[in-house]
């Protein structure tokens, strides 16, 4: 089991491909506040003063208010709808008396929370985060690759900042077992009837066939009728101790580096 944990090191991002299929932030608004750094900054102040108490400081949810980031991924609201919710309230959430401009600043901030991390200002030192990512303490590259460098057991992170909101990346690093979606990344050991044993990740699996990438990164197409025994893990193979293993500043910097990984961005990992 120790060996297993060592093979599969950093993998909470397993949850993400599933999330991504359920829609992206729906931006139908032409309001100039959306994407405007000044509006987002003004919205941040308003949010921390009036909204964070219920929704959490990064919109990740609190005791009384829902997680705005995840919610928007599953059931996206348009910018105009968010505007109306802030203006009029909903369920236990009270109405506000903010001006139109202030309300749009808030919408711009919420939009930035749910947009890809690479499109938003992100705190932290990406250069320091790069050293953490590729270093032994975090060991991310043992399992994950960026632009062809690194391991092949965990999901490719070349576009992680270009496809995921910061809050989702953060959650995947510090609470990798929170959402257990392993489609495409299930840790598996396969004992074949031929006597051969293969270890790796199941990219896909049904009652009839299994598509496995082994620890050397080689793909195997396996028929289940040829399998004697299949050993699976009940949780993520990614270490769950990053919140302890890394300091808060190190996590912030690591996130800043991950946020920059964008296949459409100018920043390259190497």
């Amino acid at each position: 089991m120790r060996v297993f944990a060592a093979i599969f090191c950093a993998a909470a991002l397993f949850a993400l491909p599933v999330l991504a299929q359920h829609g992206m932030y729906l931006s139908d608004s032409k309001n100039p506040a959306i994407g405007n750094p000044e509006a987002i900054a003004a919205g941040t102040k308003l949010f921390l003063g009036s909204c964070a108490g219920c929704h959490g400081p990064d919109g990740g949810g609190g005791a009384r208010g829902p997680n705005l980031v995840r919610r928007s991924l599953w059931h996206p609201l348009s910018d105009d709808n968010i505007f109306q919710v802030i203006r009029n309230g909903v369920a236990d959430m009270p109405a506000t008396k903010l001006s139109d401009d202030q309300t749009w600043n808030l919408v711009a901030f919420i939009h930035s929370l749910t947009g890809p991390a690479s499109t938003n200002p992100v705190p932290g030192d990406a250069a320091a985060g790069k050293a953490i990512y590729w270093g032994a303490k975090a060991g991310c590259a043992n399992c994950h690759s960026i632009r062809g460098q690194g391991g092949s057991m965990g999901p490719d992170l070349s576009n992680i900042g270009g496809s995921r909101p910061l809050a989702v990346i953060r959650e995947s690093v510090v609470e990798p077992a929170k959402d257990l979606y392993y489609l495409g990344n299930e840790a598996a050991t396969v004992e074949l009837k031929s006597g051969q044993t293969l270890q790796g990740v199941a990219k896909n699996r049904s009652n009839y066939s299994l598509q496995l990438v082994d620890t050397k990164g080689t793909l195997h197409l396996i028929q289940m009728r040829d399998v004697k025994k299949l050993i699976l893990s009940d949780t993520t193979p990614m270490p769950t101790d990053y919140a302890k293993r890394l300091s808060r500043a190190e996590i912030r910097d690591l996130l800043a580096y991950l946020a920059k990984q964008d296949i459409r961005g100018k920043e390259s990992a190497q």
Binding site: M1, V3, F4, A5, A6, I7, G139, N142, S145, R147, G148, G151, S152, M153, D156, S158, N159, G162, G184, K203, N204, S206, N207, Y208, S209, Q211, V213, D214, T215, K216, G217, T218, L219, L221, Q223, M224, R225, V227, K228, K229, L230, I231, L232, S233, D234, T235, I263, R264
Partner: protein, 533 residues
């Protein structure tokens, strides 16, 4: 210690089985490693497990519905049982036996619209291009990104639709967008890094040789290279065709032959230097891109052995040239009704009839704007010695607009309509250019599907009603068909895994795969153990 050892193993993994130049050059077999199956453009498979005698026992094996797909044009690449299929800005790796998804890669932020006609493979990477001209290289096992590099600017009217062709570590990419004003080119990029190795424009720059065949619009002259070409390893020469001059229907603003539009170019693989060119349709005004790929064949023509290149052209004629020198050898009619030219003269130039230019009122011309054939593609079968080409008997009205041409505004200097029409699959004798047999189809002339033929004496082709069909390669006799329930807009390929032969084709929205009937087998689940962390 354990970790560092494992890390070393992970890195060593990159050294496992790799697709080599020799494997691609060998041509199709178990694998299908380049767009047309062979560098020579034959779309031919030596597999014969499925043959003319047993093809009636072919049944569907699996279907993969490509999420959100419409009008798929992908020609699959197959290696070691894995099928790589593309949709615009995305690529999917599927298990060739079961159709199960292994991985997918999507780039939804790509700018520009357009089709995608397929992937390429080299060593341990698969490649495809985005609509906005990024070459994307992925780990073929995992789909992880190795690199993506933009090689052309979409703001200059260039997009990408064709499958790259890889020869000796050079990724050859073409250019699309010729109907809206752009300057066509062919490029070679490094398969290892995506760096540009050479770029050859299909339209000369002002002042260069050939520029005297244009007016002022030469900068936006078109000549796109929107379909994969072919390659002769012995001559180290690429054979690529070019599209229409721009604006498509208004020739008065571009006086001259408009070189090198509607042409076949022979380029040196190492340098991109043009060895020779041959223009099929000088000063085209009917959007007759010379698009279908050139078929390379050593055969006897007019009694002499030739290293020939064959080309079925949209303009209604079937050409044979010498591929070493570019010498015109012969042209024969590809379809029954051609009303714009009396024939092709001894030098290869069309003998044009009067009143063929599009006009404000419209001109009725055959073939239609879709052409006598298009990009569906053809196959050559060395067993029968025949070339199989999908042809379209159709006429249409061509209009000219007197508006000032504006590049990149979806302006083509006029327009065209087509009416009625019939698709006919024709078997041609490369030695004579004459028809040996034909298979007329019902339908509305809307298909965009092509052929593949095998050593088993079978041609698989799409028809104009959404059927994949099998014909006897010798005589065109119908042997089998299967209705996929929607239009076919791509061409089939053949592969095998575990000694079983398959034929696979993209329909408008899904990948359909067929093989010989086998009785179902009961599958017992293995012991499954769930380990606690």
């Amino acid at each position: 210690m354990i970790r560092s050892t494992l890390f070393a193993l992970l890195l060593a993994g990159a050294a496992c089985a790799q697709v080599t130049h020799e494997e691609i050059a060998k041509g199709a077999g178990e694998n299908w490693l380049t767009y047309a199956g062979t560098y020579a453009g034959w779309r031919y498979s030596p597999l014969q497990q499925i043959n003319a005698a047993n093809v009636r026992n072919v049944v569907p094996k699996w279907v993969y519905h490509v999420p959100g797909a419409r009008g798929l044009q992908t020609s699959p690449i197959v290696y070691q049982g894995v099928i790589y299929v593309t949709a615009p800005n995305s690529i999917y790796a599927l298990d060739g036996r079961t159709g199960r998804l292994i991985w997918r890669y999507a780039d939804p932020r790509a700018k520009a619209n357009g089709a995608n006609r397929g992937a390429a493979i080299w060593q341990d990477k698969v490649y495809f291009t985005t609509t906005d001209n990024y070459l994307v290289a992925l780990n073929r096992h995992t789909g992880a990104l190795i690199f993506n590099k933009q090689y052309a600017d979409v703001a200059k009217g260039t997009t990408s639709t064709s499958a790259p062709v890889i020869a000796k570590g050079k990724v050859i990419v073409g250019s699309s967008g010729g109907d809206g004003g752009m300057r066509g080119f062919l490029m070679a990029l490094s398969a290892d890094t995506g760096e540009e190795l050479w770029k050859t424009y299909t339209i000369p720059a002002k002042g260069e040789k050939g520029s005297e065949t244009w007016g002022d619009l030469i900068d936006w002259g078109g000549g796109a290279t929107w379909l994969s070409g072919t390659y002769d390893p012995a001559l180290n020469t690429l054979y690529w065709t070019t599209g229409n001059p721009w604006p498509d229907y208004n020739g008065s603003v571009r006086p001259g032959d408009n070189l090198y539009s509607c042409s076949l170019l022979a380029l040196d693989l190492d340098t991109g230097k043009m060895k020779w060119y041959f223009q099929f349709t000088p000063h085209d005004t009917h959007d007759w891109d010379a698009q279908s790929w050139p078929v390379l064949l050593d055969t006897e023509i007019q009694g002499k052995p030739r290293k020939a290149v064959l080309h079925a052209n949209r303009n209604g004629f079937f050409y044979a040239l010498d591929r070493v020198t570019g010498e015109f050898l012969r042209a024969t009619p590809l379809i029954d009704k051609v009303t714009w030219a009396k024939g092709i003269d001894a030098k290869g130039r069309p003998i044009e009839l009067p009143n063929i230019e599009p006009s404000a009122e419209g001109r009725w011309i055959c073939p239609s704007v879709k052409g006598a054939t298009n990009w569906m593609g053809q196959s050559y079968n060395p067993g029968t010695g025949l070339l199989y080409v999908l042809t379209l008997e159709q006429c249409g009205m061509y209009f000219r607009s007197s508006q000032q041409p504006q590049p990149m505004k979806n302006f083509s200097g006029g327009g065209a309509t087509e009416e009625g029409g019939q698709v006919v699959l024709r078997a041609l004798n490369p030695k004579t250019g004459l028809r040996v047999w034909e298979y007329p189809m019902t339908g509305l002339g809307r298909m965009w599907t092509g052929t593949v033929s095998t050593a088993g004496g079978v041609i698989f082709s799409g028809d104009d009603d959404g059927n994949l069909l099998a014909l006897d390669a010798k005589n065109g006799k119908h042997l089998w068909h299967f209705n996929v329930g929607e239009m076919l807009t791509a061409s089939p390929v053949i592969y095998s895994i575990d000694g079983k032969q398959y034929v696979t084709i993209a329909s408008a929205s899904a990948i359909f795969t067929f093989g010989l009937f086998e009785p179902a087998e009961s599958i017992t689940s293995p012991v499954i153990e769930i380990k606690k962390k």
